[in-house]
């Protein structure tokens, strides 16, 4: 069983976002710490559990600048066997589709594989696109937002979230599955794991090495401006005993805010 896990390095979810001087990006200088996107940790954990149960190997793949290598080291420290780092300024400046094309090319170099796992969303960009983009580019069946994955011979049975409920899907392998919170509890890397990760191989590939031309990663969607959300008006505190407060709130919601 060979499993490829796509990961993205993102600002810690506790980050107070500041806008960069360019006015169209988040200020990286104000990001105190970078983490593996939480949904990708579920994907790594699931891959490791499958490997532990059935044997095989786990390869973590990312695209990003030098700093993104830390995300790969985290995956390796958790127990992945090797890593691929797609590193090219044109990919960093690309959009979701361009990044997916570069990542798909990197994943193809790892064929044959049985399963590609991704987080269902990279926190920050919040696009929730990479799983579907990669599945189409790699011509794999996809099952997204998985909360349970069971592998049987040649197929995966996946429980996935839909609006207001869950469904069970089946797919032949190889397939791409994206991980949702609830799939598992990711492990912490052990000290031994962290030490071992330092010796595990990370293959660095740029667009030329991947055989992807610059035109195919030219962004089709660009952020032209970024701003902080508008400040909300000051709170209006409702006084009185609980009964008075409750009645007054309901009155205000009906008469003033007109939401009930």
């Amino acid at each position: 069983m060979k499993i490829v896990v796509c990961v993205k390095q993102v600002p810690d979810t506790e980050t107070r976002v500041k806008i960069a001087a360019s006015g169209s990006a988040v200020s990286e200088a104000d990001v105190a710490s970078w983490i593996v996107s939480p949904y990708d940790e579920f994907a790594i954990e699931e891959a490791l559990r499958i490997k532990e149960a059935k044997g095989g190997e786990v390869v973590v793949v990312t695209a990003g600048p030098d700093r993104a290598q830390a995300a790969l080291r985290t995956g390796l420290a958790m127990g992945a066997d090797s890593a691929v780092h797609v590193k090219d300024p044109l990919v960093d400046a690309s959009d979701t589709l361009g990044t997916a094309r570069a990542l798909a090319a990197a994943i193809r170099t790892l064929a044959p594989f049985d399963l590609v796992l991704c987080g269902q969303q990279g926190v920050g960009g919040d696009n929730s696109q990479m799983p579907g983009l990669l599945a189409e580019l790699l011509d794999l069946p996809q099952v997204t937002v998985a909360v349970k994955i069971e592998l049987q011979d040649g197929k995966a049975v996946v429980e996935r979230e839909i609006d207001g409920g869950r469904e069970t899907w089946e797919t032949p392998l190889p397939a791409l599955v994206s991980a949702q919170k609830g799939l598992n509890e990711p492990r912490y890397a052990s000290l031994k794991g962290i030490m071992a990760a330092k010796k595990k191989p990370i293959q660095v590939l740029d667009l030329a090495a991947l055989g992807v031309d610059a035109a195919s990663v030219a962004p089709k969607v660009s952020v032209t401006a970024m701003e902080l959300p508008p400040a909300r008006p000051a709170v209006r505190m409702i006084e009185g005993d609980p009964q008075t407060q409750a009645k007054e709130l309901v009155r205000l919601l009906h008469e003033e805010a007109k939401v009930i």
Binding site: V123, Q129, G132, D163, R232, M237, P242, I260
Partner: protein
């Protein structure tokens, strides 16, 4: 004439409200872009929904009603939608950012080579081109995005775009589409919880509970208030991680990002990752016993008090209000 193409999600033969929001927005944009609106419907027996789509602004409805398209399957639906896109060569493609739209749109975007902006909360036609606004970092920042080339593809956040006034006299041309309906990954069973529940992301009112409830045994206080208000139930990450409630109820940066008309936060202090997920709600109410809780910084109305005393009274008052309005 340019085309704006929309995907209309239906479930059990009923159009999702989010699909009608997308058609309404397409109609609104059609003026600025000098475009006509084409809507794609997928599923057997869905042709009967074309009239409703027309009343909200579709000029043309393409129906893929192959019997094999009854249950949603990504590849089959993606093929149908991609086929419609190749046929219509639209300038703009819009889908709702529902669970289905989220699953479908990227696959189609990669297939037709379109730039895709997810979860947009505002669209505008500028000089014949689309400009969108979308939250990033779960709403800690808002990005303005533009496209190079066409189609300009976007998914629209449910509950944000206004429904148009339906006009029953509007008619649409209905045409049949066809595309191979096979799919490798497909649904095998629907879970029991799927029936009749309003998804958090589409709820008009959400009542959420946090650590101030002290334990899972007290969560019914939140559920009772939600029921009295006809609201969906949400929760903070702290109580989801503590295992009180299912993670599907989590609101925040690693849960759902929501924009209801009314969000009632009960015993939620307002960690930054929670605020990120709900601060775009139209009206926010906070009930908390800590006057310094960050939740009061985003709230419109605040009750400084004990959730154990306030929630039962609030439930009573809400019941009385809704009873008096029938």
């Amino acid at each position: 004439m340019a085309t704006i193409l929309t995907f209309a999600e239906q479930r059990d033969g009923k159009l999702r409200r989010a699909s009608l929001e997308v058609v309404s927005e397409a109609r609104r944009l059609a003026g600025g872009l000098g475009a006509a609106v084409t809507t794609v419907l997928i599923g057997p027996g869905t042709e009967s929904l074309a009239g409703e789509l027309a009343s909200y602004g579709s000029d043309r409805v393409v129906v893929f009603d192959d019997a094999a398209l009854g249950a949603y399957a990504t590849e089959a639906y993606a093929r149908a939608l991609s086929q419609a896109i190749s046929d219509a060569r639209p300038a703009v493609v819009l889908l709702p950012f529902t669970a289905m739209g989220k699953d479908l749109a990227p696959r189609v975007a990669a297939g037709v080579g379109a730039g895709l902006a997810s979860d947009c909360v505002a669209l505008e036609a500028k000089g014949g081109k689309l400009v969108a606004r979308r939250p990033m970092y779960a709403g800690k920042a808002y990005a303005t995005v533009e496209w190079a080339g066409e189609p300009q593809m976007a998914t629209l956040r449910p509950n944000v775009f206004a429904l148009g006034q339906p006009d029953a006299s509007r008619k649409a041309e209905v045409v049949k589409g066809s595309a191979p309906a096979s799919s490798r990954a497909k649904v095998a069973a629907v879970g029991a919880s799927a029936q009749g529940k309003v998804p958090l992301t589409e709820a008009q009112i959400i009542v959420s509970g946090g650590r101030g409830l002290k334990g899972p045994e007290n969560f019914p206080l939140v559920e009772a208030l939600a029921e009295a208000m006809g609201a969906a139930v949400g929760a903070s990450r702290a109580v989801v991680d503590a295992g009180w409630v299912d993670h599907q109820m989590q609101v925040g940066q690693t849960g759902k990002t929501v924009s209801p008309s009314l969000y009632v936060a009960c015993g939620i202090s307002g960690a930054i990752q929670h605020l990120a997920g709900m601060s775009s709600s139209k009206v926010i109410v906070a009930v908390n016993k800590d006057a310094d809780a960050p939740i009061f910084k985003v709230a419109d109305y605040g009750i400084l008090g004990d959730v154990f005393e306030v929630l039962p009274k609030l439930t009573e008052a809400a019941k009385a209000h809704f009873a008096s309005r029938g």
